[in-house]
């Protein structure tokens, strides 16, 4: 994907190696559009988490540049402070992110670091807990929460900093179906409020259904980026990266290939969409 004037985050030929010599990023180029939903796909060790740590300024590229709103990142203390308040990062394992044993205290950690006064922090904490539906658990100890609830607290902890970009590393990992649906609703709500939401996932079906655009990472490189609408046209290419293909897209193509005539329009991206298409065809035939 070419960088556009509306790109909120851009990586240009970013390279990073860990001290043990393993490749984190290798000439990675990527552009993420403001207020979009972006899914990053890739096998374990492909560099997704490393890329996210670059976007939040935790890791500094050894080559290439990372830009936020068109401006290359400045790694000075003050600029990093500003960047991290605008780009929030939710880690994969909630136990690696939650500091305090109290839900309310943990959510307040970010806003307190922004130097806000008590009343503002308190307001932000309440808003963030409400946004993820955890207000009733505010007084609970963190260790008494379920895995899914801990994930929500992690998201609230970042939302309380009111970032423009929310990055979530494998947000659906370890969640049951109901919790995945809840989390998907939360992400949709945040996107509707204008937030740029970026996720890393192995779940291609979810990525295809949810994202505006998808990228595949292979061995530290951003191998390809597509608008979600284009996915049905690039199924073979997608499969070539070892990511499989979205089941809805596969089924839809098979139906068309076997002479199933459907009215024009965007191809279905979810199971629900496909059922809708089939119902419409059934009605037309009737």
């Amino acid at each position: 994907m070419k960088p556009t004037s509306d790109s909120i985050l851009e990586l240009k030929q970013v390279g990073f190696r860990y001290p043990d010599g393993s490749v984190g990023l290798d000439g990675c180029t990527l552009s993420i559009t403001r207020s979009s939903r972006f899914a990053l796909l890739g096998a374990n060790g492909a560099g997704k988490t490393t890329l996210f740590l670059h976007l939040n300024g935790i890791l500094r590229p050894q080559s290439g540049t990372v830009s936020f709103s068109g401006t290359p990142l400045d790694y000075g203390r003050r600029h990093l402070h500003a960047l991290r308040s605008r780009v929030g990062l939710v880690f994969q394992n909630p136990d690696s992110q939650l500091f305090s044993a109290s839900v309310r205290e943990d959510v307040s950690f970010g806003p307190m670091n922004l130097g806000l006064d008590g009343r503002s922090v308190s307001n932000r904490v309440e808003e963030a807990l409400q946004a993820v539906g955890m207000t009733e658990c505010a007084e609970k100890p963190v260790h008494n929460l379920s895995y899914g609830q801990k994930k929500r607290v992690c998201i609230a902890g970042v939302l309380a900093m009111r970032p423009e970009v929310l990055i979530l590393d494998e947000p659906m990992a370890g969640l049951d179906i109901a919790m995945q649906a809840d989390l998907s609703d939360i992400l949709d709500r945040l996107h509707c409020e204008g937030m740029t939401v970026i996720i890393a996932t192995h779940d291609l079906d979810f990525a295809y259904q949810w994202a505006d655009s998808l990228s595949v990472m292979v061995q530290g490189k951003c191998a390809a980026t597509w608008e979600a609408e284009r996915i049905p046209d690039v199924l073979r290419e997608l499969a070539g990266y070892g990511m499989g293909i979205p089941r809805v897209a596969e089924l839809y193509q098979r139906l068309i290939c076997s002479g199933f005539s459907v009215s024009e329009g965007l191809p279905p991206r979810s199971h629900q969409d496909l059922l809708g298409v089939l119902a419409k065809v059934h009605l037309d035939r009737g």
Binding site: F91, E105, P111, P141, G157
Partner: protein, 248 residues
Amino acid sequence: MLIEQSANANRWSRVSPAAKGVFSLCGVVAAYAAASPAAALGVAGALVAVAVLGAGIAPGSYLRVAAPALFFLGVSALSLAVSLEFGEGAGQVALQLARSESHRIAQLCSRSLGALSALLFLSMTTPLSDLIALLRRLGAPEVLLDLMVLCYRTLFVFSEAVHDTTTAQSARLGYATARLSLRSLGAMVGHLTVQIWQRSQALHLAALARNNDGPLRFLEREYTNSRRDQSLAFIGGAALIGLALVMP
């Protein structure tokens, strides 16, 4: 875990920790100031009654938490009260009761019991995060408080990790014999050591991602009726001290 459960589930868990701290401190002072063993026992009894009847802590939980400390206190009292006397002949050992010191020993033990009750009152009615916030307000060193926050949180993370690892090892007969148990235990300790290092790195990154570059700061909880509770704690504490001084 019992302390943790009681601290979060009792009727006074949301009462100002300052009030509970004042009452507990008065309890320690009363126990120390008690003129007689009976007075110190009276203070201890009052503190237990307040914890059980007032805060609603289950007597069974209270006794289970107090048991190790009571055992230690019992052993200490026994070692003070009884001494071994070795005779001149081989194998001549006699037990001697320190009768002359019995009053002092009773005084010491009853005071310890009173102080123990005061500390148990505080720890079993107050979540540790509230106590840490109270210590912060009292000006305790930041580094100490940060360590307390992290240790408290990771305690539960690692107890879960220990439980999972032990279960996984048991499922593969890791504790079938004494030798295998020792081996499994060693493997678990090694595994946890690496985990501790990795998790400390992850926590550091998570702190950086949320803009932390110094002490771990959290929003302090607001308590309703804080002033009223503190006043009541002062009155209750003064009554305890009065009881200790007046009781024969």
